[in-house]
Amino acid sequence: MKEGFRQAMAWLHTWAGLIFGWLLFAIFLTGTLSYFKDEITHWMQPEVQAYPLDDARSLAAAQTYLQQQAPNAARWFITLPDSRDPGLSVMWQDNNDPGKRGNFIQKVLDPVTSQPVQARESMGGEFFYRFHFQLQMPYPWGRWLSTIAAMVMFVALITGIITHKKIFKDFFTFRPRKGQRSWLDGHNAVGVLVLPFHLMITYSSLVIFMSMVMPAPIVASYGDDSRAFFNEVFPNTNNAPALGQPGVLLPLGPMYAQARQQWAGGHVGRLVVNNPGDVNASVNVVRAGADRVVHDFGSSVSFNGTTGELLRVSGEQSLPAAIGGSFYGLHMGHFAGPVLRWLYFICGLAGTAMIGTGLVIWLGKRQLKHAKTAAMPFELRLVEVLNMASMAGLMIAIAAFFWANRLLPVSFAERSDWEVQTFFIAWGLSLLHAVLRRGRQGWVEQLSLGALLFVAIPLLNALTTSQHLGVSLASGDWAMAGFDLTCLASGLFLTWAAWKMQRRAAPQLKAERARGLTLKQEAN
Protein backbone atom coordinates (compact mmCIF):
# COMPACT_ATOMS: atom_id res chain seq x y z
CA MET A 1 0.00 0.00 0.00
CA LYS A 2 2.76 2.41 0.98
CA GLU A 3 4.81 1.74 -2.12
CA GLY A 4 1.70 2.03 -4.24
CA PHE A 5 1.00 5.42 -2.73
CA ARG A 6 4.51 6.63 -3.36
CA GLN A 7 4.40 5.38 -6.92
CA ALA A 8 1.16 7.22 -7.52
CA MET A 9 2.73 10.37 -6.13
CA ALA A 10 5.79 9.89 -8.33
CA TRP A 11 3.56 9.49 -11.35
CA LEU A 12 1.70 12.69 -10.50
CA HIS A 13 4.94 14.56 -9.85
CA THR A 14 6.41 13.42 -13.16
CA TRP A 15 3.48 14.25 -15.37
CA ALA A 16 2.15 17.37 -13.67
CA GLY A 17 5.71 18.65 -13.63
CA LEU A 18 6.24 17.93 -17.30
CA ILE A 19 2.99 19.34 -18.67
CA PHE A 20 3.20 22.59 -16.74
CA GLY A 21 6.99 22.71 -16.42
CA TRP A 22 7.59 24.85 -19.49
CA LEU A 23 4.99 27.40 -18.48
CA LEU A 24 6.12 27.37 -14.84
CA PHE A 25 9.71 27.94 -15.90
CA ALA A 26 8.67 31.10 -17.75
CA ILE A 27 6.44 32.23 -14.87
CA PHE A 28 9.20 31.70 -12.30
CA LEU A 29 11.90 33.41 -14.33
CA THR A 30 9.83 36.47 -15.23
CA GLY A 31 8.45 36.59 -11.70
CA THR A 32 11.99 36.52 -10.34
CA LEU A 33 12.92 39.41 -12.64
CA SER A 34 9.94 41.31 -11.26
CA TYR A 35 11.74 41.62 -7.92
CA PHE A 36 13.87 44.15 -9.77
CA LYS A 37 10.93 45.65 -11.66
CA ASP A 38 11.79 49.24 -10.78
CA GLU A 39 15.49 48.79 -11.47
CA ILE A 40 14.71 47.28 -14.90
CA THR A 41 12.39 50.19 -15.64
CA HIS A 42 15.12 52.60 -14.64
CA TRP A 43 17.54 50.95 -17.06
CA MET A 44 14.95 50.93 -19.81
CA GLN A 45 14.15 54.61 -19.34
CA PRO A 46 17.60 56.11 -18.86
CA GLU A 47 16.21 59.61 -19.49
CA VAL A 48 14.65 59.62 -16.02
CA GLN A 49 17.38 61.09 -13.85
CA ALA A 50 18.00 59.96 -10.31
CA TYR A 51 18.28 62.78 -7.76
CA PRO A 52 18.88 62.60 -4.03
CA LEU A 53 15.44 61.99 -2.53
CA ASP A 54 13.62 65.09 -1.35
CA ASP A 55 9.92 64.40 -0.85
CA ALA A 56 8.95 68.01 -0.12
CA ARG A 57 10.48 69.23 -3.35
CA SER A 58 8.96 66.37 -5.36
CA LEU A 59 5.54 66.98 -3.89
CA ALA A 60 5.66 70.70 -4.60
CA ALA A 61 6.79 70.02 -8.17
CA ALA A 62 3.96 67.56 -8.74
CA GLN A 63 1.36 69.91 -7.31
CA THR A 64 2.59 72.85 -9.41
CA TYR A 65 2.47 70.77 -12.57
CA LEU A 66 -0.94 69.24 -11.90
CA GLN A 67 -2.46 72.59 -10.96
CA GLN A 68 -1.35 73.96 -14.32
CA GLN A 69 -2.25 70.94 -16.43
CA ALA A 70 -5.25 69.37 -14.78
CA PRO A 71 -6.91 71.74 -12.31
CA ASN A 72 -10.36 70.25 -12.95
CA ALA A 73 -9.47 66.58 -13.02
CA ALA A 74 -11.59 64.09 -11.12
CA ARG A 75 -8.59 62.73 -9.32
CA TRP A 76 -4.85 63.15 -9.08
CA PHE A 77 -2.43 60.38 -8.19
CA ILE A 78 1.07 61.34 -7.15
CA THR A 79 3.66 58.59 -6.65
CA LEU A 80 6.79 59.86 -4.98
CA PRO A 81 10.27 58.79 -6.08
CA ASP A 82 11.99 56.29 -3.84
CA SER A 83 15.42 54.76 -3.65
CA ARG A 84 14.52 52.16 -6.30
CA ASP A 85 12.39 54.18 -8.70
CA PRO A 86 13.72 57.69 -9.35
CA GLY A 87 10.68 58.80 -11.35
CA LEU A 88 8.14 61.23 -9.89
CA SER A 89 5.02 59.79 -11.47
CA VAL A 90 1.78 61.74 -11.69
CA MET A 91 -1.48 60.50 -13.10
CA TRP A 92 -4.84 62.13 -13.41
CA GLN A 93 -8.30 61.11 -14.43
CA ASP A 94 -10.01 63.70 -16.58
CA ASN A 95 -13.49 64.74 -15.76
CA ASN A 96 -15.22 65.29 -19.09
CA ASP A 97 -18.23 63.09 -18.59
CA PRO A 98 -19.51 62.64 -15.04
CA GLY A 99 -21.37 59.42 -15.85
CA LYS A 100 -18.38 57.59 -17.28
CA ARG A 101 -14.96 56.73 -15.92
CA GLY A 102 -12.59 59.35 -17.26
CA ASN A 103 -9.38 58.55 -19.07
CA PHE A 104 -6.17 58.22 -17.13
CA ILE A 105 -3.20 60.26 -18.25
CA GLN A 106 0.21 59.52 -16.82
CA LYS A 107 3.42 61.53 -16.89
CA VAL A 108 6.82 61.18 -15.31
CA LEU A 109 8.08 64.50 -13.99
CA ASP A 110 11.49 65.81 -13.22
CA PRO A 111 11.26 66.69 -9.52
CA VAL A 112 13.58 69.67 -9.88
CA THR A 113 12.15 71.45 -12.92
CA SER A 114 8.59 70.07 -12.46
CA GLN A 115 8.44 69.48 -16.22
CA PRO A 116 7.59 66.11 -17.79
CA VAL A 117 10.59 64.01 -18.69
CA GLN A 118 10.73 63.09 -22.36
CA ALA A 119 11.44 59.45 -21.66
CA ARG A 120 11.31 56.74 -24.29
CA GLU A 121 8.09 54.79 -24.28
CA SER A 122 8.70 51.43 -22.63
CA MET A 123 6.93 49.04 -20.32
CA GLY A 124 10.19 48.33 -18.54
CA GLY A 125 10.07 45.83 -15.70
CA GLU A 126 6.29 46.09 -15.69
CA PHE A 127 6.27 43.79 -18.72
CA PHE A 128 7.84 40.89 -16.82
CA TYR A 129 5.61 41.56 -13.83
CA ARG A 130 2.45 41.56 -15.97
CA PHE A 131 3.58 38.56 -17.97
CA HIS A 132 4.22 36.39 -14.94
CA PHE A 133 0.54 36.34 -14.03
CA GLN A 134 -1.27 37.42 -17.20
CA LEU A 135 0.87 35.58 -19.73
CA GLN A 136 0.07 38.20 -22.39
CA MET A 137 -3.42 36.77 -22.71
CA PRO A 138 -6.73 38.65 -22.61
CA TYR A 139 -8.35 39.05 -19.21
CA PRO A 140 -9.19 36.74 -17.41
CA TRP A 141 -7.70 33.78 -19.31
CA GLY A 142 -4.08 34.53 -18.51
CA ARG A 143 -4.83 34.90 -14.82
CA TRP A 144 -6.72 31.65 -14.84
CA LEU A 145 -3.98 29.79 -16.62
CA SER A 146 -1.27 31.12 -14.32
CA THR A 147 -3.39 30.30 -11.27
CA ILE A 148 -3.92 26.77 -12.54
CA ALA A 149 -0.17 26.55 -13.09
CA ALA A 150 0.33 27.68 -9.49
CA MET A 151 -2.00 24.96 -8.27
CA VAL A 152 -0.11 22.37 -10.29
CA MET A 153 3.13 23.76 -8.87
CA PHE A 154 1.75 23.28 -5.37
CA VAL A 155 0.76 19.70 -6.20
CA ALA A 156 4.18 19.09 -7.75
CA LEU A 157 5.89 20.40 -4.60
CA ILE A 158 3.90 18.21 -2.24
CA THR A 159 4.21 15.10 -4.41
CA GLY A 160 7.89 15.93 -4.91
CA ILE A 161 8.50 15.86 -1.16
CA ILE A 162 6.84 12.44 -1.01
CA THR A 163 8.55 11.09 -4.13
CA HIS A 164 12.09 12.14 -3.34
CA LYS A 165 11.82 10.75 0.19
CA LYS A 166 15.55 10.88 0.67
CA ILE A 167 15.84 14.64 0.25
CA PHE A 168 15.97 15.23 3.99
CA LYS A 169 18.44 12.42 4.58
CA ASP A 170 20.65 13.56 1.70
CA PHE A 171 20.20 17.16 2.73
CA PHE A 172 23.80 18.19 2.05
CA THR A 173 24.41 15.99 -0.97
CA PHE A 174 25.34 17.34 -4.37
CA ARG A 175 27.61 15.24 -6.59
CA PRO A 176 28.62 17.12 -9.76
CA ARG A 177 30.02 15.65 -12.98
CA LYS A 178 28.01 12.45 -12.70
CA GLY A 179 25.45 12.92 -15.47
CA GLN A 180 21.88 12.02 -14.54
CA ARG A 181 22.87 11.60 -10.88
CA SER A 182 24.05 15.22 -10.71
CA TRP A 183 20.88 16.56 -12.32
CA LEU A 184 18.80 14.68 -9.77
CA ASP A 185 21.03 15.84 -6.91
CA GLY A 186 20.75 19.41 -8.15
CA HIS A 187 16.98 19.14 -8.52
CA ASN A 188 16.69 17.81 -4.98
CA ALA A 189 19.14 20.30 -3.51
CA VAL A 190 17.54 23.46 -4.92
CA GLY A 191 14.17 21.91 -4.12
CA VAL A 192 14.71 21.07 -0.48
CA LEU A 193 17.12 23.84 0.54
CA VAL A 194 14.81 26.57 -0.72
CA LEU A 195 11.61 24.65 0.05
CA PRO A 196 10.15 27.29 2.42
CA PHE A 197 10.40 29.85 -0.37
CA HIS A 198 8.83 27.53 -2.93
CA LEU A 199 5.90 26.75 -0.65
CA MET A 200 5.43 30.39 0.34
CA ILE A 201 5.56 31.78 -3.19
CA THR A 202 3.22 29.14 -4.61
CA TYR A 203 0.69 29.24 -1.81
CA SER A 204 0.66 33.03 -1.64
CA SER A 205 0.01 33.29 -5.36
CA LEU A 206 -3.14 31.27 -4.78
CA VAL A 207 -4.12 33.53 -1.89
CA ILE A 208 -3.62 36.62 -4.06
CA PHE A 209 -6.10 35.30 -6.59
CA MET A 210 -8.35 33.66 -4.02
CA SER A 211 -11.49 35.59 -4.85
CA MET A 212 -11.15 34.47 -8.44
CA VAL A 213 -10.29 30.85 -7.70
CA MET A 214 -12.54 30.05 -4.79
CA PRO A 215 -15.51 32.37 -4.65
CA ALA A 216 -17.53 29.79 -2.67
CA PRO A 217 -16.37 30.69 0.88
CA ILE A 218 -16.90 34.37 0.14
CA VAL A 219 -20.34 33.75 -1.29
CA ALA A 220 -21.20 31.54 1.68
CA SER A 221 -20.35 34.09 4.36
CA TYR A 222 -21.20 37.30 2.57
CA GLY A 223 -23.98 36.14 0.27
CA ASP A 224 -24.05 37.80 -3.08
CA ASP A 225 -22.60 40.92 -1.58
CA SER A 226 -18.95 40.25 -2.39
CA ARG A 227 -18.49 44.01 -2.14
CA ALA A 228 -18.88 43.66 1.64
CA PHE A 229 -16.03 41.16 1.70
CA PHE A 230 -13.76 43.45 -0.25
CA ASN A 231 -14.69 46.37 1.96
CA GLU A 232 -13.61 44.31 4.95
CA VAL A 233 -10.38 43.03 3.38
CA PHE A 234 -9.49 46.17 1.48
CA PRO A 235 -11.13 48.96 3.48
CA ASN A 236 -12.08 51.59 0.98
CA THR A 237 -11.81 55.22 1.68
CA ASN A 238 -15.20 56.83 1.25
CA ASN A 239 -14.51 60.24 -0.11
CA ALA A 240 -16.95 63.11 -0.17
CA PRO A 241 -18.45 63.88 -3.60
CA ALA A 242 -17.70 67.14 -5.39
CA LEU A 243 -20.04 70.00 -4.54
CA GLY A 244 -19.52 71.85 -7.80
CA GLN A 245 -18.15 75.03 -6.17
CA PRO A 246 -14.59 75.95 -7.03
CA GLY A 247 -12.14 75.74 -4.17
CA VAL A 248 -8.46 76.32 -3.55
CA LEU A 249 -6.34 73.33 -2.70
CA LEU A 250 -3.87 73.82 0.15
CA PRO A 251 -0.21 72.83 -0.30
CA LEU A 252 0.16 69.09 0.10
CA GLY A 253 3.45 69.27 2.05
CA PRO A 254 1.97 69.81 5.55
CA MET A 255 -0.57 67.00 5.02
CA TYR A 256 2.27 64.73 4.00
CA ALA A 257 4.17 65.62 7.17
CA GLN A 258 1.12 65.14 9.37
CA ALA A 259 0.43 61.71 7.85
CA ARG A 260 3.98 60.61 8.53
CA GLN A 261 3.56 61.72 12.13
CA GLN A 262 0.52 59.48 12.39
CA TRP A 263 2.61 56.51 11.27
CA ALA A 264 5.53 57.26 13.60
CA GLY A 265 7.78 58.22 10.70
CA GLY A 266 6.46 55.64 8.20
CA HIS A 267 6.89 56.44 4.55
CA VAL A 268 4.38 57.78 2.07
CA GLY A 269 3.77 55.71 -1.04
CA ARG A 270 1.41 57.94 -2.91
CA LEU A 271 -1.14 60.68 -2.57
CA VAL A 272 -4.60 60.69 -4.08
CA VAL A 273 -6.36 64.04 -4.42
CA ASN A 274 -10.07 63.76 -5.14
CA ASN A 275 -11.74 66.69 -6.93
CA PRO A 276 -8.71 68.97 -6.60
CA GLY A 277 -10.52 72.02 -7.98
CA ASP A 278 -13.59 71.68 -5.77
CA VAL A 279 -14.42 73.14 -2.39
CA ASN A 280 -14.97 69.57 -1.21
CA ALA A 281 -11.52 68.36 -2.26
CA SER A 282 -10.06 65.53 -0.21
CA VAL A 283 -6.55 64.20 0.04
CA ASN A 284 -5.71 60.58 0.87
CA VAL A 285 -2.12 60.00 1.87
CA VAL A 286 -1.39 56.29 1.33
CA ARG A 287 1.36 54.53 3.17
CA ALA A 288 4.23 52.94 1.25
CA GLY A 289 4.10 49.16 0.91
CA ALA A 290 7.84 49.08 1.58
CA ASP A 291 7.27 49.94 5.25
CA ARG A 292 6.00 46.65 6.55
CA VAL A 293 6.02 42.95 5.75
CA VAL A 294 2.27 42.63 6.22
CA HIS A 295 0.81 44.55 3.34
CA ASP A 296 -2.03 46.88 4.27
CA PHE A 297 -4.07 47.87 1.24
CA GLY A 298 -6.00 50.65 2.92
CA SER A 299 -3.47 52.23 5.25
CA SER A 300 -4.08 55.90 4.67
CA VAL A 301 -4.74 59.26 6.28
CA SER A 302 -7.39 61.53 4.76
CA PHE A 303 -7.57 65.30 4.86
CA ASN A 304 -9.95 67.94 3.70
CA GLY A 305 -8.13 69.54 0.81
CA THR A 306 -9.33 73.11 1.29
CA THR A 307 -9.21 73.38 5.09
CA GLY A 308 -6.42 70.91 5.80
CA GLU A 309 -8.53 69.30 8.50
CA LEU A 310 -7.66 65.69 9.30
CA LEU A 311 -10.71 63.64 8.37
CA ARG A 312 -9.83 60.05 9.04
CA VAL A 313 -7.00 57.71 9.93
CA SER A 314 -7.50 54.14 8.75
CA GLY A 315 -7.65 51.77 11.69
CA GLU A 316 -5.83 48.56 12.38
CA GLN A 317 -6.25 45.78 9.86
CA SER A 318 -8.90 43.18 10.53
CA LEU A 319 -7.62 39.62 10.92
CA PRO A 320 -8.54 38.40 7.41
CA ALA A 321 -6.93 41.51 5.97
CA ALA A 322 -3.78 40.88 7.97
CA ILE A 323 -3.57 37.26 6.81
CA GLY A 324 -4.21 38.14 3.18
CA GLY A 325 -1.87 41.10 3.49
CA SER A 326 0.96 39.05 4.91
CA PHE A 327 0.81 36.56 2.04
CA TYR A 328 0.63 39.42 -0.44
CA GLY A 329 3.50 41.21 1.26
CA LEU A 330 5.69 38.10 1.39
CA HIS A 331 5.04 37.29 -2.26
CA MET A 332 5.76 40.79 -3.53
CA GLY A 333 8.66 41.56 -1.21
CA HIS A 334 8.05 45.33 -1.40
CA PHE A 335 9.53 45.65 2.07
CA ALA A 336 12.85 44.07 1.11
CA GLY A 337 15.97 46.22 1.23
CA PRO A 338 18.80 45.66 -1.25
CA VAL A 339 20.30 42.60 0.50
CA LEU A 340 17.02 40.85 1.16
CA ARG A 341 15.90 41.69 -2.38
CA TRP A 342 18.93 39.91 -3.76
CA LEU A 343 18.16 36.93 -1.53
CA TYR A 344 14.62 36.91 -2.91
CA PHE A 345 16.09 37.01 -6.40
CA ILE A 346 18.42 34.09 -5.69
CA CYS A 347 15.54 32.09 -4.20
CA GLY A 348 13.52 32.78 -7.34
CA LEU A 349 16.41 31.62 -9.50
CA ALA A 350 16.65 28.46 -7.38
CA GLY A 351 12.96 27.82 -8.05
CA THR A 352 13.52 28.35 -11.76
CA ALA A 353 16.50 25.99 -11.63
CA MET A 354 14.42 23.36 -9.84
CA ILE A 355 11.83 23.41 -12.63
CA GLY A 356 14.51 23.43 -15.33
CA THR A 357 16.45 20.50 -13.86
CA GLY A 358 13.20 18.59 -13.47
CA LEU A 359 12.47 18.99 -17.18
CA VAL A 360 15.99 17.90 -18.10
CA ILE A 361 15.73 14.81 -15.86
CA TRP A 362 12.41 13.77 -17.40
CA LEU A 363 13.94 13.76 -20.86
CA GLY A 364 17.33 12.36 -19.85
CA LYS A 365 15.82 9.31 -18.17
CA ARG A 366 13.78 8.41 -21.24
CA GLN A 367 16.50 9.24 -23.73
CA LEU A 368 18.74 6.62 -22.14
CA LYS A 369 16.37 3.91 -23.32
CA HIS A 370 16.63 5.13 -26.89
CA ALA A 371 20.35 5.85 -26.86
CA LYS A 372 21.04 2.94 -29.17
CA THR A 373 18.40 3.68 -31.79
CA ALA A 374 19.15 6.40 -34.30
CA ALA A 375 15.85 8.29 -34.29
CA MET A 376 14.14 9.53 -31.18
CA PRO A 377 10.42 8.81 -30.81
CA PHE A 378 8.22 11.77 -31.66
CA GLU A 379 7.11 12.50 -28.10
CA LEU A 380 10.68 12.67 -26.77
CA ARG A 381 11.68 14.91 -29.64
CA LEU A 382 8.71 17.15 -28.85
CA VAL A 383 9.80 17.44 -25.22
CA GLU A 384 13.34 18.17 -26.32
CA VAL A 385 12.21 20.97 -28.62
CA LEU A 386 9.96 22.48 -25.97
CA ASN A 387 12.68 22.21 -23.31
CA MET A 388 15.10 24.06 -25.53
CA ALA A 389 12.69 26.81 -26.56
CA SER A 390 11.24 27.29 -23.07
CA MET A 391 14.61 27.59 -21.36
CA ALA A 392 17.36 28.74 -23.72
CA GLY A 393 14.81 30.42 -25.99
CA LEU A 394 13.34 32.42 -23.12
CA MET A 395 16.80 33.73 -22.23
CA ILE A 396 17.24 34.89 -25.83
CA ALA A 397 13.80 36.51 -25.78
CA ILE A 398 14.58 38.42 -22.59
CA ALA A 399 17.87 39.65 -24.02
CA ALA A 400 16.13 40.61 -27.27
CA PHE A 401 13.62 42.65 -25.25
CA PHE A 402 16.48 44.66 -23.72
CA TRP A 403 18.20 45.04 -27.09
CA ALA A 404 15.00 46.33 -28.66
CA ASN A 405 14.78 48.92 -25.91
CA ARG A 406 18.13 50.37 -26.88
CA LEU A 407 17.93 49.93 -30.66
CA LEU A 408 14.39 51.00 -31.54
CA PRO A 409 14.36 54.76 -32.28
CA VAL A 410 12.90 56.87 -29.49
CA SER A 411 10.31 58.40 -31.83
CA PHE A 412 9.18 55.03 -33.19
CA ALA A 413 5.38 54.69 -33.24
CA GLU A 414 4.00 52.25 -30.65
CA ARG A 415 7.48 51.75 -29.42
CA SER A 416 6.75 49.94 -26.20
CA ASP A 417 4.46 47.51 -28.03
CA TRP A 418 7.26 46.74 -30.43
CA GLU A 419 9.59 45.93 -27.57
CA VAL A 420 7.10 43.33 -26.43
CA GLN A 421 6.68 42.09 -30.00
CA THR A 422 10.43 41.64 -30.25
CA PHE A 423 10.34 39.48 -27.13
CA PHE A 424 7.75 37.14 -28.62
CA ILE A 425 9.28 37.14 -32.11
CA ALA A 426 12.64 36.13 -30.65
CA TRP A 427 10.95 33.43 -28.58
CA GLY A 428 9.07 32.13 -31.63
CA LEU A 429 12.24 32.07 -33.72
CA SER A 430 14.03 30.09 -31.04
CA LEU A 431 11.21 27.54 -31.12
CA LEU A 432 11.59 27.29 -34.89
CA HIS A 433 15.33 26.89 -34.52
CA ALA A 434 14.81 24.15 -31.92
CA VAL A 435 12.58 22.28 -34.36
CA LEU A 436 15.13 22.49 -37.14
CA ARG A 437 18.31 21.66 -35.24
CA ARG A 438 19.41 18.43 -33.60
CA GLY A 439 19.25 18.22 -29.82
CA ARG A 440 22.61 19.13 -28.35
CA GLN A 441 23.76 21.22 -31.26
CA GLY A 442 20.60 23.30 -30.93
CA TRP A 443 21.23 23.78 -27.22
CA VAL A 444 24.79 24.92 -27.82
CA GLU A 445 23.73 27.40 -30.49
CA GLN A 446 20.87 28.88 -28.49
CA LEU A 447 22.88 29.14 -25.30
CA SER A 448 25.75 30.78 -27.20
CA LEU A 449 23.44 33.30 -28.80
CA GLY A 450 21.88 34.09 -25.43
CA ALA A 451 25.35 34.45 -23.92
CA LEU A 452 26.46 36.80 -26.66
CA LEU A 453 23.37 38.97 -26.36
CA PHE A 454 23.67 39.25 -22.57
CA VAL A 455 27.42 39.83 -22.43
CA ALA A 456 27.09 42.61 -24.99
CA ILE A 457 24.37 44.48 -23.08
CA PRO A 458 26.77 46.66 -21.02
CA LEU A 459 28.54 47.52 -24.28
CA LEU A 460 25.24 48.29 -25.99
CA ASN A 461 24.28 50.52 -23.09
CA ALA A 462 27.60 52.35 -23.33
CA LEU A 463 27.18 52.92 -27.07
CA THR A 464 23.56 54.09 -27.02
CA THR A 465 23.33 56.10 -23.78
CA SER A 466 25.60 58.25 -21.69
CA GLN A 467 25.15 56.00 -18.67
CA HIS A 468 27.74 53.30 -19.15
CA LEU A 469 29.26 51.39 -16.25
CA GLY A 470 32.00 53.95 -15.68
CA VAL A 471 29.44 56.72 -15.20
CA SER A 472 26.85 54.75 -13.24
CA LEU A 473 29.41 53.24 -10.86
CA ALA A 474 31.06 56.61 -10.29
CA SER A 475 27.77 58.37 -9.59
CA GLY A 476 26.53 55.53 -7.37
CA ASP A 477 23.54 54.76 -9.58
CA TRP A 478 23.39 51.17 -8.40
CA ALA A 479 20.23 50.24 -10.27
CA MET A 480 21.82 51.13 -13.60
CA ALA A 481 25.19 49.59 -12.79
CA GLY A 482 23.63 46.53 -11.18
CA PHE A 483 21.56 45.86 -14.29
CA ASP A 484 24.62 45.97 -16.55
CA LEU A 485 26.63 43.78 -14.21
CA THR A 486 23.81 41.26 -13.79
CA CYS A 487 23.47 40.99 -17.57
CA LEU A 488 27.20 40.44 -17.82
CA ALA A 489 27.03 37.73 -15.16
CA SER A 490 24.06 36.05 -16.90
CA GLY A 491 25.99 36.14 -20.15
CA LEU A 492 28.99 34.50 -18.53
CA PHE A 493 26.77 31.85 -16.96
CA LEU A 494 25.22 31.06 -20.36
CA THR A 495 28.69 30.91 -21.89
CA TRP A 496 29.69 28.37 -19.27
CA ALA A 497 26.50 26.37 -19.93
CA ALA A 498 27.09 26.42 -23.70
CA TRP A 499 30.71 25.36 -23.21
CA LYS A 500 29.63 22.50 -20.95
CA MET A 501 27.08 21.38 -23.52
CA GLN A 502 29.60 21.61 -26.35
CA ARG A 503 32.13 19.54 -24.45
CA ARG A 504 29.64 16.80 -23.85
CA ALA A 505 28.24 17.03 -27.36
CA ALA A 506 31.62 16.51 -29.00
CA PRO A 507 32.29 12.88 -27.96
CA GLN A 508 28.69 12.01 -28.72
CA LEU A 509 28.95 13.40 -32.24
CA LYS A 510 32.13 11.44 -32.81
CA ALA A 511 30.40 8.29 -31.63
CA GLU A 512 27.50 8.98 -33.96
CA ARG A 513 29.81 9.51 -36.91
CA ALA A 514 31.65 6.32 -36.10
CA ARG A 515 28.38 4.45 -35.95
CA GLY A 516 27.38 5.97 -39.29
CA LEU A 517 30.63 4.74 -40.82
CA THR A 518 30.19 1.19 -39.56
CA LEU A 519 26.64 1.20 -40.86
CA LYS A 520 27.85 2.32 -44.28
CA GLN A 521 30.52 -0.36 -44.30
CA GLU A 522 27.96 -2.97 -43.40
CA ALA A 523 25.77 -1.76 -46.25
CA ASN A 524 28.69 -1.99 -48.63
Binding site: F171, F172, T173, F174, R175, P176, A189, V190, L193, V194, P196, F197, R292, V293, V294, S326, L330, F335, V339, L340, L343, Y344, I346, C347, A350
Partner: protein
Protein backbone atom coordinates in the same frame (compact mmCIF):
# COMPACT_ATOMS: atom_id res chain seq x y z
CA UNK B 1 21.76 39.96 9.13
CA UNK B 2 25.48 39.20 8.97
CA UNK B 3 25.60 37.57 12.40
CA UNK B 4 22.57 35.43 11.55
CA UNK B 5 24.25 34.39 8.32
CA UNK B 6 27.48 33.41 10.06
CA UNK B 7 25.63 31.42 12.72
CA UNK B 8 23.39 29.66 10.19
CA UNK B 9 26.31 28.72 8.02
CA UNK B 10 28.32 27.38 10.97
CA UNK B 11 25.24 25.56 12.24
CA UNK B 12 24.62 23.83 8.94
CA UNK B 13 28.29 22.89 8.68
CA UNK B 14 28.13 21.28 12.12
CA UNK B 15 24.99 19.35 11.14
CA UNK B 16 26.67 18.30 7.92
CA UNK B 17 29.74 17.06 9.81
CA UNK B 18 27.53 15.07 12.16
CA UNK B 19 26.69 12.65 9.34
CA UNK B 20 29.07 9.75 8.69
CA UNK B 21 29.36 10.34 4.97
CA UNK B 22 30.20 14.04 5.05
CA UNK B 23 32.48 13.71 8.07
CA UNK B 24 34.36 11.10 6.09
CA UNK B 25 34.57 13.25 2.98
CA UNK B 26 35.66 16.40 4.78
CA UNK B 27 37.83 15.12 7.62
CA UNK B 28 38.64 11.62 6.34
CA UNK B 29 37.49 9.86 9.48
CA UNK B 30 34.39 8.49 11.06
CA UNK B 31 32.96 10.63 13.86
CA UNK B 32 32.82 9.02 17.29
CA UNK B 33 29.31 8.85 18.78
CA UNK B 34 29.89 11.58 21.39
CA UNK B 35 31.40 13.80 18.74
CA UNK B 36 28.46 13.20 16.45
CA UNK B 37 26.07 14.13 19.23
CA UNK B 38 28.02 17.28 20.08
CA UNK B 39 28.05 18.39 16.47
CA UNK B 40 24.36 17.75 16.09
CA UNK B 41 23.43 19.63 19.25
CA UNK B 42 25.76 22.50 18.38
CA UNK B 43 24.33 22.72 14.86
CA UNK B 44 20.71 22.84 15.98
CA UNK B 45 21.58 25.30 18.75
CA UNK B 46 23.33 27.63 16.32
CA UNK B 47 20.41 27.49 13.91
CA UNK B 48 17.89 28.17 16.65
CA UNK B 49 19.94 30.97 18.21
CA UNK B 50 20.57 32.64 14.86
CA UNK B 51 16.98 33.82 14.94
CA UNK B 52 17.78 36.18 17.78
CA UNK B 53 20.17 38.53 15.93
CA UNK B 54 17.86 38.57 12.90
CA UNK B 55 14.90 39.66 14.99
CA UNK B 56 16.94 41.98 17.20
CA UNK B 57 18.26 43.92 14.20
CA UNK B 58 14.77 44.87 13.01
CA UNK B 59 11.19 44.16 14.02
CA UNK B 60 9.63 40.71 14.39
CA UNK B 61 8.05 40.32 10.98
CA UNK B 62 11.02 41.59 9.02
CA UNK B 63 13.41 39.65 11.25
CA UNK B 64 11.68 36.33 10.74
CA UNK B 65 11.60 36.83 6.97
CA UNK B 66 15.28 37.73 6.93
CA UNK B 67 16.09 34.75 9.13
CA UNK B 68 14.30 32.38 6.74
CA UNK B 69 16.11 33.87 3.77
CA UNK B 70 19.49 33.61 5.47
CA UNK B 71 18.73 30.05 6.60
CA UNK B 72 17.96 28.93 3.04
CA UNK B 73 20.84 30.77 1.41
CA UNK B 74 23.48 29.62 3.88
CA UNK B 75 22.49 26.00 3.31
CA UNK B 76 22.52 26.54 -0.45
CA UNK B 77 25.97 28.12 -0.26
CA UNK B 78 27.32 25.24 1.83
CA UNK B 79 25.93 22.56 -0.45
CA UNK B 80 27.33 24.25 -3.56
CA UNK B 81 30.75 24.73 -1.95
CA UNK B 82 31.09 21.19 -0.58
CA UNK B 83 31.83 19.29 -3.81
CA UNK B 84 33.98 21.99 -5.39
CA UNK B 85 35.85 23.64 -2.51
CA UNK B 86 35.45 21.41 0.57
CA UNK B 87 38.31 23.05 2.46
CA UNK B 88 36.98 26.53 1.79
CA UNK B 89 33.57 25.41 3.07
CA UNK B 90 35.11 24.35 6.38
CA UNK B 91 37.36 27.40 6.63
CA UNK B 92 34.37 29.68 6.08
CA UNK B 93 32.52 28.00 8.93
CA UNK B 94 35.55 28.44 11.20
CA UNK B 95 35.97 32.08 10.22
CA UNK B 96 32.25 32.56 10.73
CA UNK B 97 32.43 31.19 14.26
CA UNK B 98 35.44 33.36 15.07
CA UNK B 99 33.84 36.47 13.60
CA UNK B 100 30.42 36.04 15.15
CA UNK B 101 31.39 37.40 18.61
CA UNK B 102 32.66 40.52 16.87
CA UNK B 103 29.43 40.81 14.89
CA UNK B 104 27.45 40.20 18.08
CA UNK B 105 29.38 42.96 19.83
CA UNK B 106 28.63 45.34 16.97
CA UNK B 107 24.94 44.53 17.35
CA UNK B 108 24.81 45.44 21.04
Amino acid sequence: MLLALLMCYAGFTALCLSTDRHHGELLHSKPSPPRRLTLRVAGWLLLALSMWPAVAASNWAQGVVEWCAVLMLSALLLVLLLPYRPRLALILAGVGLLASPVAAFALL
